[in-house]
Point group: C5
Chain length 356, copies 5
């Protein structure tokens, strides 16, 4: 498993005057782009917006307006967009800081949601993440994403084809759809890692190698990363369910509850896999320890047989002037008999001790 | 223990447009079959229904109607059945997705229960599971099961023979009966695994082998599986107890509480067995380590005795021209005396160190 | 420690039609026997009852009636007794199933308490348990025990001698007395096991053997058993304290609180002992590992000294035609000098490395 | 660390009729002694009381009366004192049983507090404890201690010199003062053990020995003892804070809160030290394992060099009639060259493997 | 990593009469210095105050007055300052005792906050801490710090340049600013330690050495220290959020919530790193164990090959008078064939066992 990119500095903003808006995250070459998907039951329009002031009209209109902002490195532009909708400065900071913990925060006029879109980074063979921030207002949803992720593509397609009941619902249902799709992504990753766990289980059980423990560790790390993002997601959804948010219709709550159930299930699966990996680590230790035992037994058997034999050859190799045994014409014959006896009795001893 | 079948993909639905009903689970060749057991205190009828629209009449009738649907792969048919009873689309998805976490969810007109029927898969020597979903409505209970499991057979038999007070109760008592029977199944599995734990305890204590640790691990895995299903069952039943569900009669709550107590006891037993297995794993390590100690002692004793002896034979095997000891007529005799002294003193040393 | 008797099957009832009363437990040869201790402040009578219908009169009388049933294998008789007092069928099942978890359950007319009487089984050298179920009604307490345990003997004696204020109190005080005595029994066991822990601590510290770890494990198992029974007892008593049970007088609550405090203390002591045992297990591992180190050092020292020496003897044992050293008349002398130098330098090396 | 005195039997009272007052604890030769410190803002008197009935007058007086009872083995006397103040029989039992868990219990007319005074037992080099029970009534505080501990000495001195505002406060402030002083004692012990932890850390890091792990264990045991007493103290103080005790003035609550904060801090420090000790134990294992590795390497290097060399000498020591190498006049010279080559190549191999 | 300075004695005050104000902490040579930053929207003044009585005027004025006290060793002076503002004696003690646990306490007229300013001690290569206590009153904030830390420098600079909206807010916003800056400092430390974790991960994975485990431990210790201070900070901020403090404006609560979120995130990161370090420790063990296996295999291979060979040379080195093999002219040739066969068969055996 390749080395993960060095994580962004949590303290990147620490030495800057607070209150000033700064982008905290990886260098990405994504220019900030604003697309508005304006729809209601009958019609749907997809418009690219350059002049930020135009956004105001979408906010007021009766149709549902999804203002999708891609690329958040241009902090001034983000600030400008936020100011159009009168977003609290702390929220603006949170949008720009891609190290946010997943959370849902209620404000008087809007709901602020920030979470991670997780996907598999084929190149580094690890999970990568991208922060998505959403502001849910009446008839309006503003999303901020770091790059042009695939997460939104499918939802936009479905908005066009009008499948499901997504078009004749309010903006809260759109939010549900986005969160639901994000959690579905988590399941893809959990399945991928589940496969890796099964493979490493095979390896540990049937052909453990020196590198096996490192592989177990790196899978464990990916699982830790997943649970790090899923756990706060679950908490946030739970709070949403209990609190009476005025921006979410009563009939939509069932849907958010459903996403909550999914995060619960995701977390359960992750926990199971983590326990499994711990057990595999133990197994690996046992196997190593068994092998050591095996090696030591071979050494001991060999030594125990040949040391007495060598002693006997040594005895008959001595040069004493007076040495009755040597002169015995059957000496050589007796020597082999003694040697055979020693060997056989040793082998019987080890057999009885079940050493082989 | 044979290898468990690869688990179903949690993410099977992830790339499909959501809201479309899809079966998520193992391929089973069970065709969807609808059987209605319609009963009250006096009479009981068992009818196989082909035309889904007929179900409506059962829903309205005053008698208790248990609509038992077997085989849920035909998602369209399931959807059609659900629509007869005006079931929420999220519930429909949950019925079709056999990866659900056990839960009890209250809706205005009905109660939705989904849980796992666990049984012992003799062929793969592991626990297998089948999802059962139940919709409890007034005078009506609809059950969805993957295959024609034995779980329902006994209950139906008892309905016929009218043993117990099951026939003169409402549909909530039927739900209790089903859950109670399912939890009884769990106890059978717990007992089975309890026996395996006792066997492996014997093995670990009296004749630990290289494969013992793997066996401990695989039993641990079955226990994890059990607790994974029992824990949410307990939670769900607890919620049922505290919440004031209007579909469950006051006098029936004691019965659900009883099932809850059973899940509690089941979980306790599982926890105890898990602790026991952890301790056995430790024991196994200790035994292995003791054996290594034993092997090393044998090696050390042999080496410590024969290395000096070999040195002595080496000395007398040297070819020095001037070598007084060799010429001594009693040299050979002295040699044996020295050898005996070395051996005996070594043995005394090890005896004192309690090495054997 | 001898092997515990195989535990009863939790699933014994699973295949039987539920609702039918079945005894679940060990085979005991105890015939069902009913004794009534009827007392008030002034008088006390001990009557053996054969006709179950007679019990009714005791239930109505103003005096406190303790109906003590010994032997619960005869499920029909138990059912008959329960029906006299109109006991819920679930409670009847619980009385007959000796695998119950300790619990206190409130019904409208009575309080149901079931717990384990624990005692030391001298023969198998382990803790044995017997289930005691109690129904507390107004002026009446019905107890069910498996065998004629000593638990009740002392209480009955005290009722006779009228020591303490037990005779001029209601039946709730009698319940307290029984629970208090049961918890006192737990302390006797905790003390017994505490002694075993101290002994094994001595053994681990000063003369650890191959069997030490098994002994630690088996003590741990007994502790687990104790905490398995004490924990739900504590929970039940706590619930009793918080809930406003109408069968327990206000002034008696202090007493139940006192028993609760005792279970708390018992659990603390058990936890401490469990931690101690874990530490001892670690200690045992360390000692074993230290010994291995010791053994390996002896082997290494011996090998490191005698291998070079043997090589030297080998050199002078060669049969080269041209071999100057051999012909040197002081060769033999030099040989011993070299050998001594090798030995001494090796010993200095090991001394410096602090190997001995 | 010397062996702790065998702990008192928890079950000492178990076989005695309950309700009878019995002293449970170590044999101490302290005779029961009653001292009354009677004070208000203006005056303070210290009186030794022999006649228990005299105590009644102090209870009624408007001045604050601290009735300090030292030595509680004379259970009859304790009972008599308690009866003067109409103390509940369960409290009387608790005072006499020195195995109590720290607790604060509210009664209608008084507050009962029992806790442990911990101090360092120089002789056995371990923490020793003494139980202190306090009854806080209006204008009156009765304390029971096992021996004439130093805990009270300083408080009495301060009462005399009237430092702080202790004299013009109610009896609840006196209770605070006692608890505060007791918790200060805990800090002295925590510091003492903290020093021991730092010493053992040094030892583990720089010169670990066979006995190091035992020392770590015994420090861990002292920490367990401390936390065993501090934890319930914290709970009790927390309950005091939340409950509205009528015996404690509103303005005094801040002070009890302060003691609570101290116990919290104490517990934190203990937890940190326990974590540290666990880590040290791990470290010790690693060091031992590293040493084993070191020893094994030495053995392997020696064996790997001298075994081939010995083989070569063996070859040239053979007595074949036809043996070309032996007859070669440079044979002896070649032998040394081969030997040197073998040795050097082995050394290079180990150097490359970084074995030394 | 250098040795941390011995920690201050927690019990320093224990033997002193309580209520007397004493400084508990390191010896620092900082003289007590009082600086007042008096500001409102329009103006800002920085005044050094020597006469403590002057402070009163600042407390009354309508402008926001930040009274920054540096150096708290002069306990009399601190007491004097506190008395000007009528601060509770317990708070005064807390200010002087630098061992305080982070907490926020509400009083009627003011809010008391105490926390640790953490920074990296370059010299000892460990985290050092300094206690900061803050009293927040209406229009007034009094801060006490041990040394002239950099924490306040930036905030004062921003007050002057009037960046952000800090100048037109109340004193509660100033408190937020201080806490926010302190938590930002924590992130710098977390990042620093995160780097250390990544380095040690590299070392453990690719070139583990004898000292690696000690390095892992010492990083773990720093993390423990961090979490020890962050955890109570989080708790305190959470309490602030839930309680309705009258000194903190409704609109400021969002800001404190933001700091709370940061502490949450900080704690998550620390936890992740701690888990990582545990895993690294395991990894290190495995690597060590693998190496031992490797070493033992080398030893066993060498022994297994050369012991039989040496035996063979021994056989042909014997001096029997009658010794057919010796006299065979091809004996020497046969010897080498046998030796080669033994060696090759051994190598094949080890190859098959995958020992190299």
């Amino acid at each position: 498993m390749a080395k993960r990119k060095r994580k962004n500095r949590l303290s990147a903003k620490s030495h800057l005057p607070s209150g000033s808006m700064v982008y905290v995250g990886q260098d990405r070459e994504q220019a900030t782009q604003i697309k508005v998907i304006d729809y209601n039951d009958n019609q749907i329009n997809e418009i690219y917006v350059n002049n930020i002031d135009e956004l105001k009209t979408f906010a007021i209109s009766e149709t549902i307006s999804w203002i999708s902002v891609t690329g958040i490195q241009d902090s001034e532009k983000i600030e400008a967009i936020c100011n159009v909708f009168d977003i609290h400065s702390l929220v603006q900071e949170d949008i720009l800081n891609t190290q946010q913990r997943t959370k849902i925060e209620e404000f008087e006029q809007y709901l602020f949601v920030t979470f991670k879109n997780l996907y598999w980074d084929q190149e580094h063979a690890c999970i990568d993440s991208e922060q998505i921030s959403i502001i849910l207002a009446k008839n309006c949803l503003i999303s901020f994403q770091e790059t042009d992720s695939e997460l939104f593509t499918e939802i936009i397609k479905r908005l066009h084809t009008s499948m499901g009941n997504i078009r004749n619902r309010k903006s809260d249902y759109l939010l549900y759809k986005i969160l639901d799709t994000a959690v579905d992504q988590y399941f893809i990753l959990i399945d991928k890692i589940g496969d890796m766990v099964e493979d490493i289980e095979d390896e540990t059980m049937h052909k453990p190698q020196a590198g096996t423990s490192q592989k177990i560790q790196s899978i464990k790390k990916e699982l830790m990363l997943l649970s790090k993002h899923i756990l706060p997601m679950r908490e946030a959804l739970n709070k949403l369910d209990s609190g009476h948010q005025n921006l979410i219709e009563e009939r939509s709550l069932k849907y958010f509850r459903d996403v909550y159930d999914h995060t619960y299930q995701a977390y359960d699966t992750i926990e199971n896999n983590r326990n499994l990996l711990s057990d595999l680590m133990n197994m690996y230790f046992t196997t190593m320890s068994n092998r050591l035992n095996q090696v030591m037994k071979v050494l001991t058997i060999i030594s125990t047989i040949f040391m007495p034999l060598s002693f006997i050859t040594g005895v008959f190799g001595m040069n004493f002037k007076v040495f009755p045994a040597i002169d015995n014409p059957n000496g050589y014959f007796y020597f082999w008999i003694i040697s055979a006896l020693v060997t056989v009795s040793m082998l019987i001893y080890f057999k009885k001790k079940r050493w082989f």
